[in-house]
């Protein structure tokens, strides 16, 4: 199949019991791109990914993955998609080589031994290939899982929080590899909580409680938020933060070490609110564009109010 879109789904909806977990979800992902999937815990990212690879049947909605219908052609999708689960789901009581060998056998790969050898070499685990997967550290488990999901040379990779709990160095290497794969034409949809990872994606989709709240490039999402942000630098920004909190026109105040991010929906109201504080000489105020994190926290504000209020 040579559909130009790797993923093309519209209005996917899924409920568990009476609770709607994903509500009318639609995306079109072109081939060869890396898309980030963001949103707080429980917002339906895993459920959506499972629907995309045929592990869950949507209650309603239609769509294709790699040109195959997600409802009726699940087995074709499974052959061509690599899915890395959020929780490590390879066999802890099998060695690294045995796990990879198992996957290669399932996909009936003709050059099984060579493929497994290469994967182990790429991982840099030649010496430890007989080690049980259960004894690997978190970062190594994730790399093994990634190696196992790309073993059968899929065209689409679905990665569910692949770098949760992994150290920065390993995360960076993981992402370098994802971009290498994308450069070879692989399409990647990856869910994450890390802002720096979101910024490495071609497009991001922000999901909250089953609904898409924002989508586009990072710049577009920031632009679309209509949020204004000031960055304050000074010796005691923490005290200042306490004073600014709850002022009319100020929606968010967050401390980042020696700097403070002050944001508001309405640029004019925000400027009026901070005017008295700008007179103080111990702080420098600088108008800036909000960070992705500021935007996401802002997007979640109505939900937080609903949940706590």
């Amino acid at each position: 199949m040579t559909a130009t879109l790797a993923i093309d789904v519209s209005e996917l909806t899924k409920s568990f019991g009476t609770r709607k977990v994903v509500d009318k979800f639609s995306i079109q992902v072109p081939r060869g791109q890396v898309w980030g999937f963001l949103g707080p815990n429980g917002s339906g990212k895993t459920t959506t990914i499972r629907m995309l690879c045929g592990l869950l049947l949507p209650d309603s909605g239609t769509g294709t993955c790699l040109g195959y219908d997600i409802k009726s052609q699940a087995s074709e999708i499974k052959r061509n998609v690599g899915y890395m689960t959020q929780k490590f789901s390879f066999y802890e009581d099998l060695s690294i080589r045995e796990n990879l060998d198992f996957v290669a056998r399932i996909y009936e790969m003709a050059d099984r031994k060579r493929v497994v050898d290469q994967a182990i070499e790429r991982l840099g685990l030649v010496e430890r290939q007989q080690q049980l997967a259960g004894t690997l550290s978190g970062g190594w488990k994730q790399r093994l899982a990634l190696a196992a999901c790309i073993l059968h040379r899929p065209q689409l990779l679905l990665l569910d929080e692949p770098t949760a709990g992994v150290d920065p160095q390993a995360r960076r290497e993981f992402w370098d590899e994802i971009h290498q794969l994308a450069a070879q034409g692989l399409t990647v949809l990856v869910s994450t909580h890390y802002m720096d990872e979101a910024e490495r994606c071609d497009r991001i989709v922000y999901l909250a409680y089953g609904t898409v709240l924002a989508r586009g490039t990072v710049a577009e999402v920031i632009e679309g938020s209509t949020l204004s942000t000031w960055i304050v630098t000074g010796s005691d920004v923490r005290t200042l933060a306490g004073e600014l909190h709850g002022c009319e026109g100020i929606d968010q105040v967050s401390v980042f070490g020696v700097t403070l991010h002050v944001s508001g929906r309405d640029a004019e109201k925000l400027e009026r609110a901070i005017a008295p504080f700008r007179a103080r000489t111990e702080f420098t105020w600088e108008k800036s564009s909000p960070s992705l994190e500021d935007v996401f926290i802002h997007l979640m504000a109505p939900f937080r109010a609903r949940l706590t209020g």
């Binding site: 499972r50 690879c53 045929g54 592990l55 869950l56 049947l57 699940a74 087995s75 499974k78 052959r79 998609v81 899915y83 689960t85 929780k87 490590f88 789901s89 390879f90 066999y91 802890e92 009581d93 099998l94 045995e98 198992f102 996957v103 056998r105 399932i106 996909y107 009936e108």
Partner: protein, 377 residues
């Protein structure tokens, strides 16, 4: 089935084999359970009942007969409940089951003993409970050479040497050859396989769900039949290992004969093992975790042991119990095993028990395949 791949079945098979080998505890259980059950049922449950009611028919009251009766009681197996006059009275007590033994001391016993004529003491045993009779009989075997040591003094002292001064003759009534371990041990093969085979498959699949590896398995292009076949095959081998253990132990510990053919037995075994594994697979599609799988296994195991003719004679059970019993694979397998081992029957003679086994297996497999989840819904 369409598009079934032997390579994928092989992949699952190999994986299970490796996991089985690494799981020392389960592996040990698979060998340990048969041995344990064999010992429990073979020795302990065929227990060693003591103080069995005994009638004595003393036709020659003397110091010897009194010593003899006391010695019987001291052995722990005999409890004199009746003193009878005449054979007929003793036979009636034995027939009604009021006593388990009748001990007869013949007239002229003490005189013949003193003359060195080696008189005979007769013990009639109710062998319908063969285990009970066997132990008691074994216990009196040594009696003749020692029991009268105190009485045989002076001129009679030479009688103390071999051969013993008198003989004990045992007549087994009602079941002259009834050796119960012959009956129990072949039946145990069915019981052991039912328990371990069902449990092991039920756990093997449920474990994948519990450990989260099921999600990965489902995300791969595996058909339900391939998963089932790949998971069942290694345990069929396991089953054969268990049967070998039981057969060897049956031979060495209990001297159970094998009159039929091992080949024919192994064909019936394959059918029976597959039937149990399919039940285990079905359980695993219902159970949410390993504990539930274990509980459901015992739910299936109990009637298999109680209503199959293993614990109680099948014909003696009420009709409803027989009806349930005849659905269970163990009932039919037990008859086949006993037939092949003890009577030397051929499979051709046992079609009546083979087809219910096959039907059960097919039904269980179909249900298991239908219930196997293809998605995480």
């Amino acid at each position: 089935m369409l598009g079934v791949s032997f390579a994928r079945i092989g992949a699952v098979f190999l994986k299970e084999l490796i996991q089985m080998r690494r799981d020392r505890l389960t592996f040990g259980m698979i060998i340990g359970i048969p041995v344990l059950q064999l010992v429990l049922f073979g020795f302990a449950i065929n227990s060693d009942p003591k103080h069995l009611p005994t009638a004595v028919n003393v036709q020659d009251p003397s110091v010897y007969s009194r010593t003899l009766v006391r010695a019987l009681e001291n052995s722990g197996y005999f409890r004199v409940t009746n003193i009878v006059k005449g054979e007929r009275e003793g036979a009636a007590l034995l027939a009604s089951g009021s006593v388990a033994f009748v001990v007869t001391v013949p007239p002229e016993f003490s005189r013949e003993l003193a003359r060195g004529d080696r008189p005979q003491i007769l013990i009639e045993a109710d062998a319908s409970d063969p285990a009970a009779a066997a132990n008691a009989v074994a216990a009196v075997a040594q009696l003749p050479s020692t029991v009268f040591n105190r009485e045989l003094t002076g001129a009679l002292a030479p009688l103390r040497s071999t051969p013993p001064p008198f003989e004990i003759v045992v007549h087994r009534r009602y079941n002259p050859e009834g050796i119960s371990s012959y009956n129990v041990v072949p039946g145990l093969i069915g019981v052991i396989l039912t328990m371990t085979m069902v449990l092991i498959t039920a756990l093997a699949v449920t474990r994948e769900v519990e450990r989260g590896t099921m999600e990965n398995l489902l995300a791969m292009p595996l058909k339900p039949f391939e998963v089932m076949a790949g998971k069942i095959l290694p345990y069929i081998f396991m089953g054969y290992i268990q049967v070998t253990v039981v057969l060897v132990a049956a031979r060495l510990l209990f001297g159970v004969p094998m009159l039929g053919s091992y080949f024919e037995l192994s064909i019936a075994l394959a059918l029976f093992i597959a039937a149990n594994l399919s039940i285990g697979f079905t359980i695993s599609t219902i159970a949410a975790n390993q504990l539930q799988a274990m509980q459901m296994t015992f739910f299936f195991f109990l009637p298999s042991i109680l209503l199959s003719g293993f614990m109680f004679p099948f014909r003696g059970m009420p009709e409803w119990a027989q009806w349930i019993g005849s659905i269970l694979p163990n009932t039919h397998f037990m008859r086949i095993v006993r037939g092949v081992m003890l009577k030397g029957s051929h499979l051709g003679d046992m079609v009546a028990d083979l087809w219910p086994l096959a039907a059960f297996m097919l039904a269980a497999m179909t249900i298991a395949l239908m219930r196997y989840r293809r998605t995480l819904d």
